[in-house]
């Protein structure tokens, strides 16, 4: 086995740099304002090549989740969760929910971005539940 690794294309490197600075940025299209993920040369929505890096507001909603019971990577001993989160900006990202795991259905729960340290990758964006205000 081995540790997991990030895919680093030409366009991923600036994103991971922003993550290391605890200020996760994604590309926003200069022409149609859509955010894209994973990072890429062009906007899949309007095909524009023009973009800027924009910090995320840091909030999203859980679309789904899984719990791993089998080990695939040295740096991920089971059990551990993975959540699919739709960011308020639109893109869907995979992450891990840190802190106590909710009972029952996780779909629709609101989360916010936080940052964790991974032995192999360094700083990695994670998610934590937003306390539901009464």
């Amino acid at each position: 086995m081995a540790n997991s690794q990030a895919v680093i294309s030409l366009y991923d490197e600036p994103m991971w740099e922003s993550i290391r600075a605890h200020d996760w940025k994604l590309q926003q299209c200069d022409d149609c304002s859509e955010f894209r993920y994973p990072p890429a040369a062009n906007c899949p929505h309007c095909l524009s090549m023009d973009y800027h890096w924009k910090p995320l507001k840091g909030r999203g909603t859980i679309l789904s989740w899984v719990i791993y019971h089998r080990q695939y990577f040295d740096n991920f001993p089971p059990p551990y969760n993975v959540v699919a989160v739709q960011l308020d900006e639109g893109p869907i990202v995979m992450s891990n929910l840190v802190g106590p795991e909710p009972e029952g259905n996780w779909v629709g729960l609101k989360v916010e971005i936080c940052y964790g340290e991974d032995v192999a990758i360094g700083t990695v964006p994670k998610m934590r539940l937003i306390q539901q205000s009464a």
Partner: protein, 389 residues
């Protein structure tokens, strides 16, 4: 959307061949490496020629599967075709029809071999297969998200949360296909299981259990597809006509799993269904058995809804009450599928469809089987084929 109709009944399957899944699996588990991918493919090709009753030199088109190199396979089979290609199981059938329709070739051999078990191919973790083709297979590794099973687990968890379908209802897939495998001499897993066995089995990536995952084994498959006219003149057995084909790909947002999580592939399956049923002049009610690409069990419920075999949101009840086994209303994966027969990446489903239409299903034969509908949605590529007499 323009509905292509011109490929209906243009081509027919006249030959099928498979390697000895059961014998080879026993040898592999004993530490042997019986053949490489080319060897398994050659075994299947020889059997398919014999089944068709034609000679190697009658072949003028060659399609090889994705796990073997086109030129080397052609070299080993001694075939210099007028037309050739490399494609997965479902697309190779469609491509063969297109080549025959356009006159590029008349007798096409489709050949697949895979030594994935003896070569210890990994589908998850640091050496995950397929990452060069599908970025979603490797992109989320920094969060421990790996293996294609997990992608389907993520998809099906949400499906259950939104529709009320349960794990026990999903278990109907593994239980039904194991019953079919128990009646299939070519199947690897013949021991019957119950819903209780399923629920008691360990999770791999929750909510998916061990029994929701396909087998990993060595083997080869070949098909001979030719024009309907050539088939009538030359085939040893009754030709099995290809009545319709369909395809629609959901690529937008694929790496972020958008087509899976937001749509459950439904729009792709609906477009594909429209094409295949219109081309064949048939509908779900005309179909006697369904074959569904089942690298993971949850392909089955998603496809049954997507292709119109049951109402939206009703598939859990449909599987549990109406039934998807040979004893139920709609027999699905009658050979045992990838879960219990053999993991030949869709190729074994084509062979099973042909066997059922020919009436060669033995103890698992569907009565009066006229039409078999194959479909797959591997990574959002919805593909359909209807075989019939």
């Amino acid at each position: 959307m323009a509905i292509a109709k011109s490929l209906s009944r243009v081509a027919a399957v006249i030959g099928i061949g498979e390697s000895d899944y059961v014998g080879d699996h026993a040898r592999v588990r004993a530490g042997e490496r019986p053949h490489d991918s080319y060897g398994y493919a050659a075994i299947a090709f020889n059997k398919a020629l014999k089944d068709a009753g034609i000679e190697r030199d009658d072949i003028d088109g060659l399609i090889v599967g994705p796990t073997i190199a086109y030129e080397r396979m052609g070299e080993l089979l001694g075939i210099n075709p007028t037309w050739g290609s490399q494609a997965d199981a479902m697309l190779s059938v469609i491509e063969a029809c297109m080549a025959i329709q356009t006159g590029m070739a008349e007798v096409v051999a489709l050949v697949y071999g895979n030594d994935q078990r003896s070569a210890a191919i990994q589908y998850g973790g640091p050496e995950a297969m397929g990452g060069n083709m599908f970025l979603s297979y490797i992109y989320h590794a920094p969060w421990g998200f790996t293996s294609q099973g997990a992608l389907y687990a993520m998809m099906f968890q949400r499906f259950m949360a939104l529709t009320g379908c349960t794990e026990a209802q999903l278990g109907e897939v593994a239980v039904a296909q194991r019953l079919h495998a128990s009646l299939n001499p070519h199947a690897l897993m013949k021991k019957l299981i119950t819903i209780e066995d399923y629920m008691a089995s360990r999770y791999i990536c929750e909510p998916l259990h061990l029994f929701d995952y396909c087998l990993i084994n060595d083997g080869g498959v070949a098909l001979i597809i030719t024009s309907s006219d050539y088939a009538k003149r030359n085939a040893k057995k009754k030709p099995v006509l290809i009545h319709g084909v369909g395809r629609y790909d959901a690529n937008k947002g694929a790496t972020s799993l958008e087509p899976r999580l937001l749509d459950f592939y439904r729009p792709a399956q609906e477009r594909c269904a429209e094409q295949v049923f219109n081309m064949a002049g048939l509908g779900p009610k005309d179909i006697d058995a369904v074959q569904i690409y089942d690298s993971f069990s949850c392909h089955v419920p998603l496809a049954l809804e997507g292709y119109g075999y049951c109402a939206t949101g009703d598939v859990g009840r449909f599987m549990a009450e109406e039934g998807i086994s040979l004893k139920g209303k709609l027999p699905v994966n009658t050979g045992g599928g990838h879960l219990s027969e053999t993991y030949m990446q869709g190729w074994n489903h084509q062979v099973e469809a042909v066997r059922q239409v020919r009436g060669e299903g033995g103890g698992r034969q569907v009565e009066n089987c006229r039409f078999v509908h194959y479909n797959s949605d591997v990574a959002g590529k919805a593909v359909s084929i209807i075989y019939g007499s």
